[in-house]
Amino acid sequence: MRSHKWYTPWLLVAPAVVWVLVFGLWPFLNTVILSFTDSRPLRTGGFVGLENYGRMLQDEQFGYALTTSVIYMIVCVPLLTILPLLLALLVEKTIPGIAAFRTTFYFPVIASVVVVALIWTWMFDSRGVINQTLQAFGLLDKPVAFLVDRWWLLACAILLTVWKGLGYYMVVYLAALGNVGRELHEAAMLDGAGAFRRFLSVTIPGVRGAMLLISALVAVAAMRVFTELHVLSNGTGGPGGQDLSIVMLIRQVGQGLNGDVGYASALSVALFLLTVLPLIAIAWMNRERRTVS
């Protein structure tokens, strides 16, 4: 029997290890290190201890960004977990032309989020089609400033995210629904369960894994939201920066030749921790399920 050298496995994993070190671990460690400095793009900074983290706690704009990101997550997670499931149940039936419906629901996923957000900007503009239509029907006396009001702007962005994400998660659910045995539904029907009861007792347990996965993906994406809010607010985060997300704040603080790399890094570390929390929660829920079963 031919044996290999002791280092052969190391050689085989070396490319992947180097890749992870260079593009994953090192940038992460470097960000953590930079968060304790007052570095600028063209200047190596000095160690400032926890100053950047202390500043974060007193930064009004970080408060806004945290609020925006958390609200985004709290609203988007249930909407993008439940609505695509309902949509998938609707288009799951094999009736003539259903493929066209499925494709239609998937269209927003294909479109560039920047392009879609720009179109939404024009729609929700004070002279845009929505305001003009509402005024034409006499429902408004004067235009609603959708894009310069903190809560309207946030609502528009969330609506855009949900509309754009529905098709993608619908496809995930369609795959999961295919694994829910028809015999379970038939057994439940024989026991007298109605459609809603079967949805709760058969369908949801059958797709629970997909639901947890989607919840995790949506939670992470919502916490890191950028494009929708950036385009709709033209990069400003709205009046007062009240609609800044954490990623937008990182960009605002760290960009350019004079960017505050140290503080931006501290914000990035905070974002990382905030993103990991929902993941841990969802992983814990998944573990509970396995333990129970």
Binding site: L42, V148, P239, Q252, G256, L257
Partner: protein
């Protein structure tokens, strides 16, 4: 024993890797070049010249001819011309500086040059050639000097200012007297309110919020001698209050609060706003894009102090061929070539003393009356134009100011309170190298 060897090997590999990786954390300050550079001898080698959004049908032939002429004068020198797009120029320059690949000769305005100077990335041109200072317009030359740093780091290339453009037909439609257009910001805001109310918000005069250069042009001290921002004055608050009043009257579109109508000149060409500021070349833009609006357009000197826009070229300290690079930078910005450039880039003025001495002559060959009038206004304004935005004013500060003033315009915070926050933020975030 074998396990120990493996551990030692793995540790060594990781340590070497980590050390190698720490080399990727950005370039440290380069050694400063503070001595004379002799450009009189035989020059040779290849240099890179980077312009900023100038490679197009209009300017490419000019640069190609200029480079060919320089190469003919210096047969052993080859000039490679790079051009970067208008957007993201700062980020591009930053990545070049970080990777020690800044082009030998690079187009940099004074504010973008500053962090590079502080990082030792640019050649001190005053030390490189002491005869240069007398050749360039003093105000523009001084724009490349920075407090606490010896030397001058850019050769003024072309200078500009802007003027006011009014949509005469739109103003008359809403009852404004076009024979007595505003000459102060107070009058402008008053007229904006009047036209905004008369048009029901359909024809705003303004489409952007107050900016730091507006305060400066209104005679408000933006920065004191100690290098601190101090524009949170009652006068500045009064301007913001007037803007708030104008906003409530419909004189600004709602989306002006997010800077979405920052492209005032574009809105003007679309007939959506009745006033904008732009350079004298705007006459040509109107001819091409909005001839019907152009028929009634009125050009006036800029309200308040005219801004001085400075573009220049710098020589990289990382250049392997500083002599040829400096020679090309001097050639590019000599009077003859600057005048030729200004004849193409209508409305701009050469940055050399000789070239700017007779700016009136630049408009002699222009036949279009509106263009000629605009160029004459620019020529006159250039006599008093000054740099209104301090180079310490960063994009993050501008964004913060837009955010706070948007709240003030909506009436959610007081104007003085908003300005106090902006000034505090700006001073807290001053970059000191």
């Amino acid at each position: 024993m074998k396990l120990t060897t493996r551990l030692a090997t793995a540790t060594a590999v990781l340590a070497v890797g980590a050390l190698a990786l720490t080399g990727c954390t950005g370039a440290g300050p380069a050694a400063g070049s503070d001595g004379p550079i002799d450009t009189s001898g035989e020059l040779s080698g290849t240099i890179k010249f980077q312009s900023w959004s100038l490679k197009n049908e209009k300017f490419s032939p000019y640069f190609e001819d200029l480079i060919a002429a320089f190469e003919e004068e210096h047969p052993d020198v080859t000039v490679e011309w790079l051009d970067q797009p208008g957007d993201g120029y700062q980020d591009k320059v930053l990545s070049q500086a970080n990777s020690n690949s800044l082009p030998d000769v690079v187009n940099l305005p004074p504010d973008i040059a500053y962090p590079l100077v502080a990082a030792g990335k640019l050649v001190d041109l005053a030390a490189a050639d002491s005869s240069l200072e007398d050749q360039y317009v003093p105000g523009a030359w001084e724009a490349y000097t920075y407090p606490g740093i010896d030397g001058t780091y850019g050769l003024p290339w072309y200078l500009g200012t802007d003027l006011g453009w009014w949509n005469g037909a739109a103003l008359q439609q809403y009852g404004a007297d076009t024979s007595a257009l505003p000459t102060t910001n107070e009058e402008l805001l008053s007229l904006a309110e009047q036209v905004g109310e008369a048009s029901g918000g359909q024809m705003p005069l303004l489409s952007s919020m107050p900016t730091i250069d507006l305060f400066a042009s209104s005679g408000i001290e933006v920065m004191n001698d100690d290098g601190e921002f101090v524009f949170n004055t009652d006068e500045a608050a009064a301007i913001v209050d007037q803007f708030a009043s104008a906003y409530q009257a419909g004189a600004l579109p709602a989306e002006a609060l997010t800077g979405d109508y920052g492209g005032n000149a574009d809105m003007f060409k679309q007939g959506k706003v009745a006033y904008t500021t732009a350079g004298s070349g705007f006459a040509g833009d109107l001819q091409r894009d909005a001839p019907s609006i152009r028929e009634s357009v009125i050009a006036t000197p800029r309200i308040g102090d005219a801004p001085l826009f400075v573009q220049g070229v710098s020589v990289s300290n990382d250049s392997k061929n500083k002599a040829a690079a400096l020679a090309f930078a001097e050639y590019l910005t000599n009077t003859e070539n600057q005048v030729a450039f200004a004849q193409l880039a209508l409305g701009f003025v050469p940055g050399t003393v000789d070239g700017s001495a007779d700016v009136g002559s630049l408009s002699e060959s222009v036949t279009d009356p509106l263009q000629k009038e605009a160029m004459e206004i620019v020529s006159e304004s250039m006599k008093t134009a000054r740099i209104l935005i301090p180079f310490q004013w960063t994009s993050a500060m501008k964004t913060y100011m837009d955010q706070q003033l948007a709240l003030a315009l909506k009436g959610e915070v007081g104007s003085k309170e908003a300005l106090d926050k902006v000034v505090e933020y700006a001073n807290d975030n001053l970059v000191e190298y």
